[in-house]
């Protein structure tokens, strides 16, 4: 049985902070298929299109028929633990800091034998379920967990290392005013977050969220304006060293494309909040978070962006707003590269139209704040990079994967009979 994870004791500044180390990062190009699936929390393996043989480890030609037509497909994640070991010495510093480390050999029901990380509750000859998760190097790795849930299962240190679980962590949500903030804060506290910091801009302007949230235990409201570099730096000076997860939900939006607007005033604000906002936050909070990714139970773990799914392909009804989201999406990819050596995760939550004032003109389905909050917490627990929240986001993702040009043409259809 997994012992419950205790809240960390107060940090002793005299003691060494574990540095941001990573497990091995090098992979062949074929093996990155596993990483791509892990980014979305899927377990996929290569399958031969000609003879249907399931393959592992990832390779470039079928081991049964030599066909080079191998595709990644989601697979049953069930298997049997053949052998187990507890590694007590390693030449890799990441593992040395975390010894002992359990690993095992699992025969998958779909055929191949895999070597994998091993949850503490798995025993030899047990039926196990394989999770495909991103590790601290940002690579997809396999972990065997018990087929049936066990007590405190998520507290297993090896499983937790493959997540950004909010439990016992301190989380900054950047915009108290966003309609989704109460749901986000509530879901994170329910998931065991130690503290939720809420950034509030222009505190003299009244708004409904303040009264609901100011009452809550373990919630602190702090001044933050993501368009003001001094404000961002000031807050980072205060709480940057204890921000374990940063969720940027600051958003400025108005409807319309370029011709709907007489000037660039709204577009400037959109870029200032939606694109330069996360950049200011990254510059102020990024270095501190990156230095604390090895820092025990409440190590820095993740950076979360909430983006319109139309960052992938523009929706002209909100053309200028989605352009700023495309910029933010591109920035998030840059941040992934910049944070990579530290192991700090960047999770993008792509959402369709949310159920709030500025999307009132669109018909349903829309994403309710609670649904978004659930998706954020689930994504953090699974250590995802890409979360698709709601029916619209999932549909756009599918269409974008099938053919980006077809999707673009359909989204920019124009009005019949004009």
């Amino acid at each position: 049985m997994t012992p419950p994870l205790r809240p960390p004791s107060k940090k002793d500044p005299q003691k060494r902070t574990k540095p941001p180390l990573r497990p091995p990062e090098a992979r062949s190009r074929a093996a990155l298929g596993l990483t791509a699936a892990a980014a979305e929390g899927r377990f996929a393996l290569q399958v031969c299109e000609e003879c249907a043989t399931v393959q592992y480890p990832p390779r470039d030609a079928c081991k049964a028929c030599l066909s080079t037509d191998l595709v990644w497909r989601d697979q049953s994640s069930s298997g049997t633990l053949l052998a187990e070991t507890t590694v007590r010495t390693s030449t890799k510093l990441y593992f040395r800091e975390r010894m002992p480390w359990r690993m095992g050999s699992v025969r998958l029901d779909v055929g191949p034998v895999i070597l994998c990380h091993l949850h503490g509750d798995c025993r030899r000859d047990d039926k196990v379920t394989i999770l495909n998760r991103l590790d601290a190097a940002g690579q997809g790795v396999l972990l065997a967990v018990p087929a049936e849930r066990t007590d405190n299962m998520d507290d297993d240190p090896q499983l937790r290392a493959l997540s950004a679980d909010p439990k016992h962590r301190r989380i900054l949500i950047t915009d108290l005013r966003n309609p989704n903030t109460p749901a986000l804060a509530g879901a994170l506290l329910d998931a065991g977050a130690a503290t939720v910091f809420l950034g509030e801009s222009e505190s003299w302007r009244p708004h409904a969220n303040r009264s609901t949230l100011a009452e809550l235990e373990n919630v602190e409201i702090l001044p933050l304006d993501v368009t003001d570099t001094a404000s961002v730096e000031k807050l980072a000076g205060e709480i940057g060293g204890k921000t374990d997860i940063l969720i940027n939900n600051a958003r400025f939006m108005r409807p319309g494309g370029a011709l709907d607007r007489g000037d660039t005033a709204f577009a400037r604000e959109e870029m200032d909040v939606n694109y330069l906002g996360p950049m200011r936050l990254a510059q102020a909070f990024g270095p501190g978070m990156c230095s604390r990714t090895g820092d025990g139970v409440n190590s820095a773990a993740a950076w979360v962006n909430i983006l319109s799914v139309h960052a992938l392909s523009n929706a002209p009804e909100y053309g200028c707003f989605t352009a700023s989201n495309a910029a933010a999406y591109s920035l998030s990819q840059s941040l992934r590269g910049e944070f990579r050596t530290s192991g700090l995760r960047v999770m993008n939550v792509f959402t369709g139209p949310t159920d709030d004032d500025w999307y009132q003109e669109l018909p349903p389905p829309k994403v309710a704040p609670n649904a978004l909050a659930r998706a954020v917490v689930a994504g953090l627990k699974q250590g995802l990079e890409d979360v698709w929240c709601g029916d619209v986001a999932n549909e756009i993702r599918e269409r974008w994967r099938r053919d980006p040009k077809v999707l673009e043409r359909e989204l920019t259809q124009g009005v019949e009979g004009a």
């Binding site: 497990p23 091995p24 090098a26 992979r27 062949s28 074929a30 093996a31 592992y56 480890p57 990832p58 081991k63 053949l82 052998a83 187990e84 070991t85 507890t86 590694v87 007590r88 010495t89 390693s90 030449t91 890799k92 990441y94 593992f95 480390w101 359990r102 690993m103 095992g104 050999s105 025969r107 034998v113 895999i114 070597l115 994998c116 990380h117 030899r124 590790d135 190097a137 690579q139 790795v141 396999l142």
Partner: protein, 391 residues
């Protein structure tokens, strides 16, 4: 499959082992040169006489056998580089023998050597194979310790082996090593010490693991006429086998590729396991030695534990095994670990093994096992050597 040609007329001679060192500031080139010179001197040959060269090494990078020819000033007309780790000794032997039989070369030196700098082992692991990089090392980075731990764990489950059984192999080898002045391990090992050693990757503990070190091994292959003309003691080759990626369908490795070819091995050498005077297995971990005793026909599959309980594996025992101490006690000098048993077996059947000499040794079986490419060793090999002319 047609009947293979025998190895008539081929002599294997001039075995040379450069004394191993735990760490060395020298390079693989240096170690290989030392062993090569040792064998050439033993045979009274000059470097210019050599027209065939076979090289095995992990730490030559960025060089290969090609770079070595220029580095060492050799002009071979037959050149081989064998990247098969623990299986490389026997593979070098069988290829060199065919080259000499066919007249492609007259004097082939088979040499293996590696250095061991402070960081060599870690560096070798990090670039060992693509499957290991993608699918093995990210999982705790235990290296071969973890792979053999899993095999040992399953083997113990399947066949009821205990740690004591594996300990018997290690303790006997240490006793042999104490008779070999070049062995890295110099102190006696008791079964109690073996059992109470620091755990490395359960169920494997410290004395189940080879110690990486620097060293080199070499021998020469030539015609019986040449060996006779030079008054060299030599061994002859009864038979050899080699196999790669056998039993890929087995979910975990409990047997090796030897099982596919073992009947032919004995048939070609015209003998049975009972005729073998000593066995040299590849022994980076005791579980694989136990599997070789089974797969090479000395006992049935699964009865390895019982076999080692009832036999004495020391030089003076009823089943001499890894007579120089093997890698477990003499050290694992990289690819030379694939030669250590073969070179020792050559000394044994030539009667020049000194302190580790097995009385009246005339037939030796040497087997190789190499390259944990992902979850198991891919290469296996074996050879039966016979006394040709003893010293």
């Amino acid at each position: 499959m047609g009947k293979r040609l025998g190895y008539e007329g081929i002599a294997v001679t001039a075995p040379f082992s450069t004394p191993y060192q735990r760490y060395s500031i020298e390079t693989a080139h240096w170690w290989i040169a030392r062993a090569l010179r040792g064998s050439l001197r033993a045979a009274g040959l000059k470097p210019a006489d050599l027209d065939g060269l076979s090289v095995s090494s992990f730490t030559l990078f960025p060089d290969t056998a090609v770079g070595l020819t220029q580095h060492l000033g050799l002009v071979p007309r037959w050149l081989d580089h064998i990247p098969m780790g623990g299986a490389s000794g026997v593979v070098a032997l069988r290829r060199a023998a065919r080259a000499v039989q066919a007249g492609d070369a007259d004097f082939v030196a088979c040499v293996a050597g590696d250095t061991n700098h402070i960081d060599s082992f870690r560096n070798m692991l990090s670039s060992f194979s693509r499957f290991a990089q993608d699918a093995s090392y990210p999982y705790g980075y235990g290296g071969p310790n973890a792979n053999f731990a899993l095999m040992t764990d399953r083997y113990m489950q399947e066949f009821g082996a205990t740690r004591e059984d594996f300990g018997r192999i290690c303790v006997a080898q240490r006793e042999n090593a104490l008779k070999n002045p070049n062995a890295v391990m110099k102190k006696q090992l008791t079964l109690e010490q073996y059992l109470s050693a620091r755990p490395i990757a359960d169920p494997i503990a410290l004395f189940d693991c080879v110690m990486p070190c620097a060293g080199s091994e070499c021998f020469l292959v030539m015609s019986v006429e040449e060996a006779t003309r030079r008054n060299l003691p030599f061994a002859t080759i009864g038979s050899t086998i080699e196999r790669h990626n056998a039993h890929a369908e087995d979910p975990i490795q409990l047997r090796g590729g030897w099982t596919l070819d073992i009947d032919e091995l004995y048939e070609m050498a015209d003998c049975t396991p009972d005729d073998i005077d000593l066995l040299q297995t590849y022994d980076d971990y005791p579980v694989i030695s136990m599997m070789q005793m089974e797969d090479l026909g000395f006992c049935d599959k699964g009865s390895g534990p019982e076999f080692v309980r009832t036999r004495n594996l020391t030089v003076t025992g009823d089943f001499p095994h890894n007579t120089s101490g093997g890698q477990l006690s003499a050290g694992q000098a990289g690819a030379a670990g694939g030669f250590i048993g073969l070179v020792e077996a050559l000394r044994q059947v030539q009667g020049v093994a000194g302190g580790t000499q097995v009385k009246d040794a005339s037939k030796a079986l040497v087997s190789g096992f190499g390259m944990i490419n992902y979850d198991r060793g891919v290469c296996t090999s074996a050879a039966i050597l016979k006394s040709g002319v003893s010293a």
